[in-house]
């Protein structure tokens, strides 16, 4: 596939989603980048901001199947994955696997932090393995499988915050902010009138093949070794043990970031570096380039790292959030 074709499809998808989603341009772009990079997205925002609509519209635009799972404390893994049921066919009774909602191209895991850890882990395992095993039998998921999970930052009573290991499986964590006044006006105009906007299907013909080609092209985007090195140093600098070491014992070219030393309990995993580079490649293609630049890295580093930096108590006491730490990393880690 030509990069121009990728860009064209991408921009058309963006345009279709913007028909129904007002504002959130950056969120839309990052969700699409994560989709073509083969990752899952965690959306965090208060209710009513259009998270569900976004995911639904995305599946419509892509022409892919969509399932929604509302996570509740009594939700069981089998409710998601599926279960064996006794069925009769040709006069014989046998167990048949009844597929759960996880068997779809795009799955919305709404308020994922309300389910018990057992259920959460069932979903997250499926996300990572892209297959489920029931009664010793393995069932592969869809090739274009993508989970978009949402969580509410408020009303945390009776919730089960996702463990760090499970958070790490999300490619991006996107913060969905409240709309600005002018965006709210537009939302009202679109939703309180008689006219309704329909999301059109962007990819015609062999959709899955086209999507596969787009995913392959994204991975082919060129990244220069100095930029890879920069990403490695960024991720490495996010580890507090590195910062705690005396400067003489610190690895060569390791930057000292005061905020990391003070506020970070655990730094980013290698998945963080993978997410940065793949996200940067996607961003480069959308920007019309076939190579990654420093701007691409800076564009995706926040959603790629913010859920992978585990803050300590001091950070909570000082009201420091991961985005501030990432800003400090960009500030202190030299590019060359």
């Amino acid at each position: 596939m030509e990069p121009e074709r990728f860009r064209e499809i991408f921009l058309r998808l963006e345009a279709e989603l913007k028909k129904v989603i007002v504002g959130h341009e950056d969120t839309i772009r990052k969700v699409l980048i994560a989709f073509f990079a083969g990752g899952h997205v965690l959306l965090e925002g208060v209710p009513g901001l259009g998270k569900t609509l976004l995911v639904k519209s995305l599946s419509q635009a892509l022409g892919l199947s969509f399932k929604r799972i509302q996570f509740t404390p009594d939700l069981m893994p089998s409710d998601i994955i599926g279960t064996q049921v006794l069925a009769e066919s040709n006069g014989r009774r046998e167990f048949q696997f009844k597929r759960g909602p996880i068997f779809a191209h795009t799955v919305l895991a709404d308020e994922i932090n309300r389910a018990t850890p057992k259920t959460q882990s069932a979903v997250l395992e499926a996300m990572e393995e892209r297959q489920v095993t029931v009664m010793g039998e393995t069932y592969p998921l869809e090739s274009q499988f993508m989970v978009l999970a949402t969580q509410n930052p408020i009303e945390l009573e009776g919730t089960y915050p996702l463990p760090e290991a499970q958070l790490d499986r999300f490619f991006f964590k996107l913060l969905v902010h409240s709309p600005r006044p002018e965006e709210l006006v537009e939302i009202l105009n679109r939703t309180t009138g008689t006219e309704t906007q329909e999301v059109g299907q962007v990819i015609e013909g062999e959709r899955e093949k086209t999507i596969d080609q787009m995913k392959r092209l994204l991975r082919e985007v060129i990244i220069a070794p100095p930029l890879e090195d920069y990403v490695v140093r960024l991720v490495h600098a996010s580890h507090p043990p590195v910062q705690a070491e005396p400067s003489s014992q610190r690895p060569a070219r390791a930057a000292f970031v005061r905020e990391v030393k003070e506020y970070i309990r655990f730094g980013s995993s290698p998945r963080g570096a993978q997410a940065i580079i793949l996200g940067a490649k996607g961003n480069a293609l959308v920007e019309g380039r076939v190579h990654v630049s420093y701007d691409d890295i800076e564009a995706v580093i926040y959603p790629a790292l913010r859920h992978r930096l585990i803050l300590n108590f001091q950070a909570e006491a000082d009201n420091v959030n991961p985005d501030q730490i990432i800003a400090a990393l960009i500030r202190d880690v030299p590019k060359d």
Binding site: P3, I222, R289, V290, H291, Y294, D336
Partner: protein, 442 residues
């Protein structure tokens, strides 16, 4: 490399190479310019020392060659190491043309590992940007701060060098160098005679009573002798040695001239002070003493008796003030010492002497008129018997204190009036006293 890359299809990798080479040249220029003033300052030293006669031509050439070689070696070593990294150059080009890391990617990625279609596309994009690159505008050469710092350091070095050199010369360095040269020349049998003459000249020049003009005439004579010697010699090394000696003498002559000028300046200062009262007012105690003394000297001058104090006369107030002094000092020094002695005397009296006050105590002998009998009966004496000291008999080289007393002990001095030469028992012969011995007559 032209001002602009005229060919749009110029490979970006090649552009990176060209810019890297240009930056390398800039770096070499930086180092060259940074080293140039210092090297020039270092080169100046042997050339100057050669011109001043301290080192020979060969030594000067050797030292200059060593400085040049060290500078060149350093430049070559730096130039070899100063090639900027491709990544850095590519990043620089990207920043100049808005390349968004296109040049960096092409310069640092392994082409074999890149998808061909994307690599070609990237190269095409970068080639398009090459046209925006104007080498003279984007990569001009500017003289760096290091050059100015080096220039300042070089100038400071030269100033310090001359300062220390001058101090060295004042400490007798040039004469020492000449003495060494004379010793060296003495090794050569052909120049042995000349070397001994040079050593004798140096010994004469050490005489503190020798006036600058006399010194200059002696040096001039020696230079003429060197010229003649040079003309007669055929050997190159001998000629060179003689040239060194000539230059050293020239320097010595210059030094002597400067010294004479300095003394002349002092004389002017003294004359101004001779106006007397004004200065006495300005500096109480010490100044008054000097002013009064100057006034007395002026008076003496008017009487036709030049103010050239004899050593014996000078000694008395000095001894009163300090209790010690040097009789073999040159005139200005003597004057200073005399002043110092008076100062000491004044201080002893509490420094309370005011303008118009006449120092108490007996009148110095030198102010007595002919016929008046002083303590030593010198004034009014018709004749004195003078015994000349042996030539150089420890007199000239005597140390402080000894210089005054040792010769005097050996001299038979009579302060009684003698019968005239025509009378019986009168002096059998008369002799004109050379100028330089006048100070010894009591």
């Amino acid at each position: 490399m032209g001002e602009k890359f005229s060919q749009p299809q110029q490979a970006p990798e090649r552009v990176v190479e060209l810019i890297a080479a240009r930056l390398k040249r800039h770096r070499s220029w930086d180092w060259g310019l940074a080293l140039l003033p210092l090297a020039a300052a270092l080169l100046y030293v042997p050339i100057f020392l050669h011109a001043a006669g301290f080192i020979g031509l060969e030594s000067a050439l050797l030292a200059s060659a060593a400085v040049l070689a060290a500078t060149l070696l350093l430049l070559v070593a730096v130039a070899a190491k100063s090639r900027p990294a491709r990544a850095r150059v590519a990043r620089l080009i990207d920043s100049k043309v808005g390349g968004k890391e296109r040049f960096l990617t092409l310069a640092t990625s392994d082409p074999a590992r890149l998808p061909p279609s994307l690599r070609d596309r990237l190269r095409a994009q970068a080639s398009g940007l090459v046209q925006r690159l104007n080498v003279k505008v984007h990569f001009p050469y500017r003289v760096k701060r290091s050059f100015w710092l080096s220039l300042a350091a070089g100038i400071a070095f030269l100033v310090l060098f001359h300062l220390f050199f001058e101090l060295y010369l004042r400490a007798g360095g040039r004469a020492e160098a000449l003495a060494e040269l004379a010793q060296g020349l003495a090794q050569d049998s052909r120049l042995a005679g000349f070397a001994s003459r040079l050593e004798a000249l140096l010994r004469k020049l050490e005489d503190p009573n020798l006036k600058p003009e006399e010194k200059q005439s002696l040096i001039e004579q020696m230079r003429q002798q060197i010229g003649e010697e040079k003309a007669s010699q055929q050997d190159r090394s001998t000629k060179e040695s003689l040239e060194r000696a000539e230059r050293a003498l020239e320097g010595l002559e210059r030094g002597s001239e400067n010294k004479g000028q300095g003394e002349g300046g002092g004389g002017i200062g003294t004359n101004l002070k001779q106006d007397g009262a004004g200065e006495g007012k300005q500096s109480k105690g010490d100044g008054e003493g000097r002013g009064e003394r100057a006034a007395l000297a002026q008076k003496e001058k008017q009487d036709g008796n030049p103010m050239k104090p004899s050593k014996g006369e000078e000694k008395e107030p000095r001894q009163a003030g300090k209790g010690a002094g040097e009789s073999q000092k040159q005139e200005p020094n003597t004057r200073r010492e005399s002043e110092g002695a008076e100062r000491g005397e004044m201080a002893g009296k509490g420094g309370k002497t005011r303008e118009g006050e006449v120092p108490s105590g007996p009148e110095p002998e030198r102010f007595k008129r002919p016929g008046e009998q002083g303590d030593k009966g010198l004034r009014g004496a018709g004749y004195v018997t003078v015994e000349l000291p042996d030539e150089g008999g420890g007199f000239l080289k005597s140390g402080r204190g000894e210089g005054k007393k040792a010769p005097r002990r050996n001299l038979s001095v009579s302060n009684a009036p003698l019968p005239p030469a025509t009378a019986a028992g009168g002096a059998q012969e008369t002799q004109h006293v050379p100028l330089e011995y006048r100070g010894l007559i009591r």
